[in-house]
């Protein structure tokens, strides 16, 4: 990326240790059930497990056959069954069914359930209720953190979002606290912890409790600061279409555990290929954070360079050729393969995204973010619903509209909802109830129109004059959900915004909007706390905190202080990660993103659907 990156960014700590710890514990647990056994793995644990221990490792520890948990009667002939599952009641019930079916046929087997990352009391309650608590042994595999890349660590708990924010079920909070505790004990002590959101605060407290219970070892910190943020602090960012390459690939091809499956249309052959997307992939590493409009140009340049490298062969004598083949050729071939895959992916994306529909969709999104041509946007959404373009996309646009306009006018709210129900069925009444509960799609309360809000904010801004206001104004505008460049008198700058040389984090949304989550992080780090942001946090429902680390060395190594861990509770998007990487390069620091799961607009909305009970 052509920008004025600082060259003094510190090195990231090595997270390989996390994988090793997880693998060792798993092996230990498997050995607790000696002899041959069949292993049943919960479907969404398959990929994470694969990153920790491959099939041959499992086989080495006497795992005979591997099955996916499918909630059906099983066919295994083994006398020992081991279940590797999330602590979900549904799965535990299924295991009870399996065991009870065996009992009914007089078959004796040994059952072991390994819960990961932890067991809940409710699981035991179910085992007891179904009368098989005496027949199974249970264990916990404290596999909290899966490093997806050098700077991304995931808890791989997509249900965190719905459970915590919609159902108000706080059982995962402690899990988040434990994850933080693990990081703290391996890479801490943290010198400063900031956070915003109710869940963040609770996770923080749970972590502190665990620190106090355990013994503390003095060690050299590798991570200096921590920022915790709840997903419900910023819903706008994950609802936007992603236009940075990595995010776009996620939106279209769905990245799973840093791995994507490119279909035949990308590979231009008749089979699909699974590709790991991380910093090991040199081609991907260079384009992942780029705005999509630059990617193609970059790739073709790369292709030309590659050709030149290949062309070097001509005019080589035999000896040179030999070195070329043994040293360079393999790398070139690898690069060649990746390059052609990404070019294929780009073409596929282009095909989809250059369609009229998508352009208009983006335009509408930007209009919503910038707060103009609202009526046109509403008709666009209406048409979108009427034509049944996409169940998820329509909801996404509705939510975006509601948030940016501080609620829908009662008339619009009703008619759009009615239209949606006609299109997709009345069962979505429940979906709407969910969206309303989360504040994603609400009716505007009288006296709280955007204009009223704006005047409030305006007054607030006028109260504070001086150097700070410029920024505060800016942030407040984002805070009331819109980057109101137009209304604030800043000329609309789409044409001027050079996406190749980004000025700020807004580049990840083509310059239309600075992601609020990242902006908050930037500001809090800059101010070393929340001072001056009181009004902003009030608008964001508060629960902010900033704590100076306990027992942390104030003269700690300078480098560690520039390694900042950002933990998203409820998921974060690739766009946000890209924005933070950009921020890191600008400020000479590095961000490590820890998230309960990687999310995007469709995952977010799908988590809130309630039509398929």
């Amino acid at each position: 990326m052509a920008h004025s990156a600082r060259t003094d960014c510190p090195e990231l700590p090595d997270f390989f240790l996390l994988k090793r710890l997880a693998r060792d514990q798993l092996i230990y647990l498997l050995e607790q059930l000696p002899g041959k056994k069949d292993l049943f793995i919960e479907a969404d644990l398959m990929s994470p497990l694969d990153r920790i221990a491959n099939v041959s490792t499992l086989k080495q520890h006497e795992v005979d056959k591997l099955y996916k948990v499918e909630y059906k009667p099983i066919v295994s002939t083994s006398d020992q069954l081991c279940f590797l599952i999330r602590p979900r009641i549904q799965t535990v019930k299924w295991i009870c069914d399996v065991a009870n079916a065996d009992k009914a046929t007089g078959r004796f087997r040994r059952y072991k359930i390994i819960f990961t990352p932890q067991k809940f009391y409710a699981c035991d309650a179910v085992l007891e209720e179904q009368g098989i608590i005496g027949d199974v042994t249970t264990d916990e595999w404290s596999f909290y953190l899966l490093p997806l890349d050098d700077d991304i660590i995931s808890l791989e708990l997509p249900e965190f979002f719905r459970d915590n924010f919609l159902a108000g079920d706080q059982r995962w909070v402690r899990t988040a606290g434990s994850a933080l505790h693990l990081l703290h004990s391996l890479y801490g002590p943290f010198s400063k912890v900031y956070g915003i959101g109710r869940c963040s605060k609770m996770a923080y407290e749970s972590w502190r409790e665990q620190v106090e219970e355990g013994e503390q070892k003095a060690r050299q910190a590798e991570i200096g600061k921590v920022f915790l943020i709840d997903r419900d602090v910023d819903f706008v960012t994950p609802l936007c279409s992603q236009v940075v390459y990595e995010g776009l690939v996620d939106d279209i091809f769905k990245i799973k555990c840093a791995c994507v499956e490119f279909g035949p249309d990308v590979t231009s052959s008749d089979k699909s290929i699974k590709v790991m997307l991380n910093s090991q992939d040199r081609v991907f590493n260079e384009i992942r954070n780029e705005h999509f409009s630059n990617v193609f140009g970059f790739l073709s340049q790369k292709a030309r360079n590659l050709q030149t490298s290949y062309d070097k062969r001509r005019g080589m004598d035999i000896k040179q050729m030999k070195t070329f083949v043994s040293e360079e050729l393999k790398g070139l071939k690898q690069e060649h393969r990746l390059l052609s895959l990404h070019i294929g992916a780009c073409e596929s994306i282009m095909k989809k995204k250059t369609k009229q529909d998508f352009q208009e969709l983006l335009k509408t999104e930007h209009s919503l973010l910038e707060g103009f041509e609202i009526r046109e946007s509403i008709s666009f959404i209406e048409e979108h619903i009427n034509r049944q373009v996409s169940m998820i996309e329509s909801l996404r646009l509705l939510c975006l509209l509601s948030i940016t306009e501080n609620g829908l006018l009662p008339k619009d709210y009703r008619s759009l909802k009615a239209q949606y129900l006609q299109s997709y069925g009345v069962d979505h009444l429940l979906t709407f109830a969910n969206l309303r509960q989360l504040g994603l799609l609400v009716e505007q309360q009288p006296g709280e129109t955007l204009t009223v809000m704006e005047s409030k904010v305006g007054k607030l801004v006028n109260d504070r004059t001086g150097g700070e206001t410029g920024f505060l104004f800016n942030l407040l505008l984002i805070t009331i959900f819109v980057s109101l460049r137009i209304r604030a008198g800043v000329p609309k700058s789409d044409e001027e915004y050079d996406l190749r040389v980004p000025r700020d984090m807004a580049y990840i949304f083509s310059g239309a909007y600075v992601p609020l989550s990242c902006k908050l992080i930037e500001q809090v780090l800059e101010r070393d706390g929340w001072t001056g942001l009181e009004e902003v946090t009030r608008l964001l429902n508060g629960h902010e905190f900033a704590v100076t680390g306990y027992g942390a060395d104030s003269k700690a190594k300078n480098d560690a202080q520039r390694i900042i861990l950002v933990m998203f509770l409820g998921g974060c998007t690739f766009s946000e990660i890209s924005a933070l990487r950009f921020l890191g390069r600008e400020r000479g620091c590095k961000f490590i993103v820890v998230t309960t799961a990687i999310t995007n607009s469709s995952r977010l909305i799908e988590a809130l659907l309630d039509n398929l009970v």
Binding site: K93, A167, D169, Q170, E209, L421, S423, Y424
Partner: protein, 805 residues
């Protein structure tokens, strides 16, 4: 120092010695005759009950408690029933087992703590004999009744009575045991009993006859048996005077181990080992024997002795003419003190064998085993002397032995009376001494001082003369936030003593709210327990409390309690959603949450297969939505019901397979089936927006390629979705000629797009130029191939003209 071996007696290859521990401070008039005596192991206290068998109902025996050195601790008249057996628990509580099977527990200071019973059956048939035993699970009690049935409890703190099976039919003595012992092995507690010459092992399920190897029937009946402190060895004594020793598994013991047995007759004490030798000690007084880990304590009315095998290391050093390095070092040091050059000779001798390190080690170890402080001193001095000639000898063993001996000697003082470990010290309420000992021994705070403090606090809360307030304050001041002291533990003690208010006060000091919950539940402060659980952030704990409340309270109260705790409520709701749908309904009902109730019925309706039940559930949902004043949802649900009925009708009439589809999908399906009339009926009945219907019909007709119908439709009235849609839909079906028909009808604003859509560049260019629109010109330009110069020029000129304006 030859006199050290004076009290050594050889037995086979080993030596035995008896050391006087104390001259007893007590003054017993009648000696130990006619007394029930129990002494706790590890140098613990001694309990004495005089004349347990009452001579007359009016006479009350005296129960006395002494320290091991005979210092009186407590004394009181026994007022309860006849006592069969006394015993001490591992935590120095006194157990008094009565004839009727009830067991009374007193603390070290003679105050009553609690009692329990060994069972109904025992009460009737009376306890014949009882034994108190110790195992890794705590202290247990075993009894045998007059009807020869054994009952045992492995841990009196977690009382589970187990009745052992009957000994199989024995005609001549009704199975009455001659003698018996309790064994703890393989994590099981068993009883070994003899009945004449026969030997049985009783465990929970079975009674097995056993024969110890090598003990023939000619040996006679077994009249005594004894098991070692570690439960590893067993000794049997028969009426013919034979003795059998072996492992308690009743197999021959391995040769290398040499247990020996102490036997006592009225006037004779005898030590018997493997060899045919014995050691005999005459006795003047009746005595009591107490088995210890490493010896036997012999208590008589006048003094107390420890009889033990001389530890190997002491043997090596003190054995006459021993040439062990330790012995030489001790000698060297003695000569050194006399300033004799012989010291050097001895030292050289050790060093030549390079055994100096070993010599020092031996001296240090032997000092640990010696009871006399002078012997300890000379050994330690010798060790310290030898250490000077070593460069890399780790002093740790030496230092810790010195420290430990210092402590052991201090507690062996007559006034304290010989507890051996610091925990035992604490139980005797010598708190300041205990704390000092902990600090001196450098025991980490959380293991040492904290434990002392915890024990102190637990005693403090039992002081009845102090107010709750005062005790709470005193405890808080002293305990502060010492690591490892749990306020909830102290509070539990207070509650046990019947001071719930104090318990709650103390719980407030507990920093971890999770710790407070179990006790609060026990105290039936469920509301408080729930809020503390919520505070702790541990959802498992919340859930535990919720389940507890659910079983304890009636449904109404339970729901009310939950209502005040949203966190607990949502947790329970989540559980109900998956496990107990009906409860969920009750929950919403209780809260008058009509909105959620309605949603619940909607959800339920989708699980229902039969249309009638589904409709009735939806009707309930409508009612609830109305109650919740959610007209929108009520109306939507009503419409859904109408739609369902409509679909059912059509399914019956035409077999259309519509049931359950959304309105849109229904119309789509109808159109696809050519049922235009019915589709239009829906369109009118459900007030479907024109736009939607037009889109739908447009797409449907195009898909079926009914172009004539489409054209008719386009002319039926002015299209609410414009005509660009027609163009695009036709193009999607790859029908350019049809698409072109509609281009002319498109509004001027969209005309450029329409032309472009059908690929008519000229037309697009004309329209754009006419409209003089920048962006539209640009759009056409972008699509214009470089080969078409003429068109490019035209467009560029127009663009320039538009820009000028």
């Amino acid at each position: 120092m030859a006199f050290i071996t004076a009290n050594w007696n050889p037995l086979g290859e080993a030596f035995y010695r008896s050391t006087e521990l104390y001259e007893m401070c007590w003054n017993l008039r009648d000696g130990l005759r006619d007394c029930l005596v129990a002494a706790a192991p590890y140098g613990g206290p001694i309990a004495l009950l005089r004349e347990p068998v009452r001579r007359s109902p009016s006479s009350r025996p005296q129960l006395e408690i002494y320290s091991a050195s005979g210092v009186a601790i407590a004394s009181f008249p026994w007022k309860s029933g006849p006592v069969v057996q006394l015993g001490w628990t591992v935590s120095d509580e006194l157990l008094c087992i009565q004839e009727d099977g009830s067991v009374l527990i007193y603390d070290l200071f003679g105050s009553f703590k609690r009692h329990f019973s060994m069972g109904q059956e025992v009460m009737q048939s009376q306890v014949l004999e009882a034994k108190v035993f110790h195992s890794p699970y705590g202290t247990g009690v075993a009894i045998v009744t007059a009807s020869s049935r054994f009952t045992l409890a492995t841990n009196i703190d977690d009382l589970k009575l187990r009745r052992l099976p009957e000994v199989p039919g024995n005609t001549w003595s009704a199975g009455e045991p001659t003698c018996w012992v309790v064994l703890t092995q393989d994590r099981q507690t068993k009883v070994l009993m003899s009945n004449g010459p026969e030997l049985y092992i009783l465990d929970t399920t079975s009674c097995t006859a056993v024969v110890p190897p090598g003990l023939g029937p000619q040996a006679g009946s077994i009249v005594h048996m004894s098991v070692s402190f570690s439960y590893k060895y067993l000794a049997l004594f028969t009426d013919t005077g034979h003795m059998w020793t072996g492992s308690s598994h009743l197999c021959r013991r391995p040769k290398s181990q040499q247990p020996s047995v102490v036997l006592m007759w009225d006037r004779l004490l005898m030590v018997a080992g493997v060899s045919h030798d014995t050691i005999q000690f005459p006795l003047e007084d009746p005595c009591v024997l107490i088995g210890e880990l490493d010896g036997v304590r012999i208590i008589s009315s006048a003094n107390q002795e420890l009889l033990q095998e001389v530890p190997l290391v002491c043997q090596e050093i003190f054995k006459i003419a021993s040439m062990a390095p330790g012995a030489l070092l001790l000698e060297a040091h003695r000569e050194y003190q006399k300033s004799s050059q012989k010291a050097d000779e001895y030292l050289r001798e050790i060093k030549e064998q390079s055994m100096l390190g070993e010599a020092v080690r031996q001296c240090v170890e032997a000092a640990g085993h010696e009871y006399d402080s002078n012997t300890q001193k000379s050994l330690l001095r010798a060790a310290s002397f030898g250490k000077c000639f070593l460069t890399d000898f780790s002093p740790e063993a030496f230092v810790s032995t010195c420290r430990e001996l210092r402590v052991l000697n201090a507690v062996r003082e007559r006034g304290v009376g010989l507890p051996l470990t610091h925990t035992q010290l604490v139980y005797r309420q010598f708190y300041p001494l205990a704390i000092e000992v902990c600090r001196y021994l450098k025991i980490p705070d959380y293991q040492g001082v904290s434990r002392v403090l915890k024990h102190w606090a637990s005693c403090k809360v039992q002081q009845k003369d102090l107010s709750d307030e005062a005790i709470a304050r005193a405890v808080c001041v002293k305990v502060g936030d010492s690591p490892g002291v749990s306020y909830s533990h102290i509070a539990a003690k207070a509650y046990e003593c019947g001071r719930p208010e104090l318990a709650i006060k103390l719980l407030d000091f507990e920093a971890r709210s999770g710790e407070q919950v179990p006790l609060l539940l026990k105290m039936k402060r469920s509301q408080l327990a729930l809020s503390k659980a919520v505070e702790s952030g541990d959802t498992d704990l919340v859930y535990t409390v919720v389940t507890y409340l659910k079983s304890e309270m009636n449904r109404g109260d339970f729901f009310m309690t939950l209502r005040n705790q949203p966190v607990a409520l949502s947790l329970y709701r989540q559980f109900c959603k998956l496990q107990e749908q009906e409860t969920l309904k009750d929950l919403y009902n209780q809260d008058d949450d009509h909105q959620e109730l309605a949603n619940y019925y909607v959800t339920a309706s989708y699980r229902e297969k039969r249309l009638e039940s589904r409709l009735s559930l939806l009707q309930t949902a409508v009612d609830e939505y109305n109650k919740a004043k959610n007209e929108f949802s009520a109306k939507a649900t009503e419409e859904e019901m109408r739609l369902l009925r409509f679909q059912r009708k059509l399914d019956d009439e035409k077999g259309a397979g519509l049931l359950g589809l959304s309105l849109q999908a229904t119309m789509e399906a109808l159109l696809a089936l050519g049922l235009h009339k019915q589709a239009e009926q829906l369109y009118r009945d459900f007030r479907v927006p024109d736009k939607r219907f037009w889109w739908l019909k447009l797409k449907s007709l195009a898909e079926k390629e009914e172009w004539e119908e489409l054209e008719k439709f386009s002319k039926s009235k002015k299209s609410p979705i414009g005509y660009l849609a027609f163009v695009e839909v036709c193009m999607k079906s790859n029908n350019k000629p049809e698409a072109k028909k509609y281009v002319s009808k498109v509004t001027p604003e969209q005309r450029v797009k329409a032309h472009l859509a059908v690929g008519d560049l000229e037309g697009a260019a004309d329209a754009a130029i006419e409209r003089k629109s920048d962006s539209e010109l640009a759009a056409v330009l972008a699509r214009c191939p470089a080969s078409d110069r003429q068109l490019l020029d035209r467009l560029n000129r127009a663009a320039a003209a538009a820009a000028k304006k």
